[in-house]
């Protein structure tokens, strides 16, 4: 029970710190919007193609944003040895992980949700199955990116050339979640005649369950030196 209280206290701290540095996370959102724009330049103005792949573009932008926001959040802990001070307090390693991962999910999920109107406008993407499903898919997928991402960011923020390492480690790993999220989003946007949404979301959920538990177990090992 003790580490649950600690987790709540740490989550509030993390939320406050990330809120107070929201300017940085705001620039991550601008980066997301920029990449959406660049995708359309890369693909060309043919709106039917853009519309068909809107789901893919949304998740590509989200994936790129996740790297930046995870690194930013990890840097807050590494600065001044703040994380080590907490570890020596002592604070349960798992509580540290789940507090950090939860707030990272809120940040990335929030940024992702703000991207949706941009995608709908820019690519004229329909939302046949309703905006609620779209938001749910974005949040489920964000949680899937954040679970291993928080663990890896804790590593790469303390390694040389960490900025290169994080995407190198994270992107191949999240392939199942990415496939599931893109397909789920595509089905929400273009309609779900065969009722496949549930199974794609199930795939992302399986990824979430696997990594939210495994990474919580492994995170404390990274705190030892």
């Amino acid at each position: 029970m003790e580490s649950l209280f600690q987790c709540v206290a740490l989550a509030q701290k993390e939320l406050m710190v990330q809120w107070r540095t929201r300017a940085r996370f705001g620039s991550v959102l601008v980066f997301g919007v920029t990449s959406l724009l660049v995708f359309s330049f890369a693909v060309g103005p043919d709106s039917s193609a853009l519309q068909a792949h809107a789901a893919g573009y949304l998740w590509l932008a989200l994936l790129l944003m996740s790297t930046l926001s995870l690194q930013e959040a990890a840097r807050l802990d590494v600065q001044n040895g703040a994380l080590e001070a907490l570890v020596l307090l002592p604070v349960d390693g798992r509580a540290l992980y789940y507090a950090k991962a939860l707030v990272n999910t809120v940040t990335l999920g929030g940024l992702g949700t703000l991207l949706i109107p941009v995608v709908v406008a820019l690519y004229d993407a329909p939302v046949k199955e309703g905006a609620l499903w779209l938001i749910a898919t974005v949040w489920l997928g964000s949680a899937a990116l954040v679970a291993p991402g928080t663990l890896y960011a804790a590593l790469t923020s303390r390694a040389r050339a960490g900025d290169v390492l994080l995407p190198l480690l994270l992107f191949p790993l999240v392939v199942p979640a990415l496939l599931g999220s893109v397909k789920a989003t595509e089905v929400v946007m273009l309609g779900d005649p065969m009722g496949r949404l549930g199974s794609w979301l199930g795939l992302v959920l399986a990824f979430d369950v696997l990594y939210w538990s495994l990474c919580g177990l492994l995170y404390p090992l990274l705190l030892e030196d």
Binding site: A9, N80, A82, E84, A85, L89, P90, D225
Partner: protein, 238 residues
């Protein structure tokens, strides 16, 4: 090496053959050390002699490569009873002094039976002279004020083993007096202190024992009062 002060209770912290290697370099080699409750020890030596490594090992921030460590007679460190002031102050730039101490109050377990209740954040801020700026972000603090906040967080724990790594650094004269008072107060309350510093004279006057490190090895131990006239101190650490 015989323990410095004979005492019935187990040493607050006991190091035997303690060594630590960073890649190719031995930062600390074969250190034997026993520190007891109610005593203060000054640790001195040149830069790179291994002072910070020793402090971090005793703080259980680092694992030893070889040798063994016992805290309060136990192999696993009871980190609640150990408080460390390290080079990194451990603050979040985007939180205020008050928020740091309130967070600490929520994270720390209630004090053990028979121990006085933890001082409140306001008392701590008063004690270190930060009451005026308690509501502004640490980002806006001077180095001295950051160190005072680090002292406040350290005092909040009420630890039995207190490790201070260069406590006087970046402090004005008033701050230095605060450190003197802190060392004397904690020692009086029965805590065990290890103070790593270059102000050997000033600290020795407040401590019982002294330990000197050179290139990762303990090269001299004895009473703090002996360091006053001790040649190695007069010449200053090599």
């Amino acid at each position: 090496m015989p323990p410095i002060a004979p005492s019935t209770t187990p040493a607050t912290v006991q190091a035997t053959g303690l060594s630590r290697r960073h890649g190719a370099r031995w930062a600390l080699r074969g250190v034997d050390l026993a520190l007891h409750a109610g005593t203060a020890t000054v640790l001195y030596g040149a830069n790179g002699a291994g002072k910070t490594t020793l402090i971090r090992l005793l703080a259980s921030a680092m694992r030893p490569t070889a040798g063994s460590l016992r805290w309060f007679g136990d192999v696993s460190p009871d980190r609640v009873r150990v408080a460390t002031l390290s080079h990194h102050d451990g603050h979040y730039d985007d939180l205020t002094a008050l928020e740091h101490l309130s967070l600490g109050a929520r994270l720390l377990p209630s004090p053990r039976a028979g121990r006085p209740p933890r001082p409140s954040p306001h008392d701590l801020l008063m004690r270190v002279g930060l009451s005026a700026r308690s509501g502004s972000l640490v980002r806006t603090y001077s180095a001295g004020m950051r160190k005072r906040l680090a002292f406040a967080r350290l005092l909040q724990k009420g630890a039995d083993l207190v490790l201070l790594d260069e406590p006087y650094a970046a402090l004005d004269p008033a701050g230095a007096l605060l450190v003197d008072g802190l060392i004397t107060e904690l020692r009086g309350q029965g805590a065990c202190l290890l103070v790593s510093t270059h102000q050997v004279q000033r600290t020795a006057a407040l401590c019982d024992h002294a330990v000197r490190l050179d290139e990762g090895r303990v090269t001299w131990t004895g009473l703090a009062s002996d360091t006053v006239g001790h040649p190695s101190v007069e010449r200053g650490p090599t």
